[in-house]
């Protein structure tokens, strides 16, 4: 066993994958996910995000290159896949494509029972998972009467109940209104605090910058850059190569720093933080913008 903290939790090394119809999935793609980190994967539609996720969970097998979990090459035999899938949980984009059973409790219990857990443990896992996503009151409700956001949370609970080390979410914010996004964010924050490594796909660079520890850019089936979010301000080139703008808050901070309103070494990640910073600067009598008419 070579498992140690030095290895990334999950690593794809030069993975190539083409679908049977010839369309490109991944092209020499390498990416590493550190244990206990929050990762955002950003890329245009068709850039290979979903294919990459399916490689992580062993749903697809690389045609060349390798997938490593905790430093060990993934074993694609039945028992190896079982092992991998019990550690890497995957939440699909469309909840209706993931939910099997018509009852919330039943669906969440699907994964734990597949792991071969006994009924009592499965029951306990199900209730803990529903609790974690704030859906405990809905356990015996039918799935088809839930809202989109609630279904999404049931999907997450269904994977959480398997107690994965790495949770992969395919565009979790898609289709959610602002309030539901905030709720989901709180759920993710809670999971992160429990030590679960998170990897999610998004189109929203502002959200990725505010939330993630590391940002991975996908372009044409390849991970073109993996950046610590804290250094994103200086990574404009990598972003524009992926067809992405700098996050709005960085642009604003640049301007304000140029105008001398804010120091150039402070990098608030959210607009709220930037406003708070501005507030404290104003209160302490720093130079203000002259009003120009």
């Amino acid at each position: 066993m070579t498992r140690s903290a030095d290895h990334p939790l999950l690593e794809l090394a030069q993975v190539c994958f083409r679908y049977p119809d010839g369309s490109r999935g991944l092209d020499d793609c390498s990416i590493a996910i550190r244990r206990g980190s929050r990762n955002a994967l950003i890329g245009a539609n068709g850039s290979g995000k979903t294919t990459l996720f399916q490689q992580c969970n062993g749903l697809l097998r690389p045609q060349s290159g390798g997938v490593y979990y905790a430093g060990e090459a993934v074993d694609y035999r039945r028992s190896g896949l079982r092992q991998l899938r019990s550690k890497v949980g995957m939440v699909f984009q469309n909840p209706d494509r993931q939910l099997f059973s018509a009852s919330v409790l039943e669906d969440v219990s699907f994964g734990p029972l597949n792991l071969g857990l006994d009924i009592a443990t499965a029951r306990q896992r199900v209730s803990a998972a529903l609790q974690a996503v704030g859906m405990a009151a809905f356990a015996d409700k039918p799935v088809h009467n839930l809202s989109f956001g609630q279904k999404k949370r049931v999907c997450i609970a269904g994977v959480l109940a398997m107690e994965p080390e790495l949770l992969i979410l395919d565009e979790p914010m898609a289709g959610l209104d602002h309030a539901m996004q905030e709720d989901l964010l709180a759920v993710l924050e809670n999971l992160y605090a429990r030590g679960i490594t998170l990897l999610l796909a998004t189109h929203d660079i502002d959200f990725a910058y505010a939330w993630a520890d590391r940002i991975h850019l996908m372009v044409a089936g390849r991970c073109s850059a993996s950046l610590p979010a804290a250094t994103l301000a200086t990574a404009g080139d990598a972003l524009s190569a992926a067809g992405l703008p700098l996050p709005g808050v960085i642009e604003l901070q640049h301007r304000l720093a140029k105008l001398g309103v804010l120091p150039s070494d402070a990098w608030p990640r959210r607009i709220g933080d930037l406003l708070a910073l501005l507030g404290t600067r104003q209160a302490s009598g720093m130079p203000r913008l002259e009003r120009r008419v």
Binding site: L59, R85, G89, D96, A102, S109, L115, K141, V143
Partner: protein, 246 residues
């Protein structure tokens, strides 16, 4: 959908499905044990009263759910009322050749059986029924098909609704000719979706480590023993009443 709504929102939702199932079964047997049409009608009336007053199902919903079955029943009875025969006068149509009795018998028994089934259907959600069937050792493959069909029913009714609205918004059903065309499009589209969805579900099942049978936790009902005892007493009283009165 009405059945679905009643099944989830009735006073006896938390009563053990085994208890409700036994009572319904007792109702079915009583329907057949009833010797005269009056007794069978009485059994039907009791079952309807239990459903409406006990489980708290609204009369309007009850009638709406029952109406297709009732219509079918009436049509069937009507055909029993006539008899087609060939005698020396050629082809003849006879009205009630054996008197009213056989007709009344069939009609009242069917009504009682219908009331027993409606009692179960309107008070017990399908997932609970499936779990009950699982405990009764129904073959797993049938149960899996039931689970998937039940879930997909809602997924596809939503898909049909969406496609239909999208077509209507672009005048897809403006003329009979267009309507036929749109309907064909809808069917074709749905067929493809069935294919894709099946594949998606397979992938999603694999992602959650599924390698064979679909297994789920069954909900727990707090007072199964008590409920079952009450159902047994009520069911056997109904049965005894039906037998005694005949």
């Amino acid at each position: 959908m009405l059945i679905e709504r009643s099944a989830y929102a009735n006073r006896w939702r938390q009563v053990s499905p085994a208890a409700k199932g036994s009572f319904a079964l007792a109702g079915l047997i009583a329907a057949f044990a009833a010797g005269t049409p009056m007794v069978a009608a009485g059994v039907a009336a009791i079952l309807v009263a239990v459903t409406l007053l006990g489980a708290g199902i609204a009369l309007v919903s009850y009638l709406r759910v029952a109406s297709p079955a009732l219509a079918f029943l009436l049509l069937g009875s009507l055909s029993l009322a006539f008899s087609l025969g060939i005698d020396e006068h050629g082809l003849t149509l006879q009205w009630l050749p054996n008197g009213l009795n056989p007709l009344a018998n069939v009609l009242s028994r069917s009504l009682a059986a219908l009331a027993a089934l409606l009692f179960l259907a309107l008070t017990t959600p399908l997932p609970d029924l499936i779990n009950l069937l699982r405990r009764l050792r129904t073959p797993e493959i049938l149960l899996e098909i039931m689970v998937l069909c039940y879930r997909m029913l809602f997924v596809f009714s939503a898909a049909v609704q969406d496609t239909w609205i999208a077509q209507t918004a672009r005048l897809g059903y403006a003329t009979p000719r267009l309507a036929l065309r749109s309907l064909a499009g809808l069917t074709a589209n749905l067929t493809l979706q069935v294919w894709q969805r099946a594949n998606d579900l397979h992938v999603a099942a694999q992602a959650r480590n599924n390698e064979g049978p679909l297994r789920f936790l069954a909900p727990v009902f707090a007072h199964t023993g008590r409920d079952l005892a009450i159902a047994m007493v009520a069911g056997s009283s109904l049965l005894a009443l039906a037998v005694a009165m005949s």
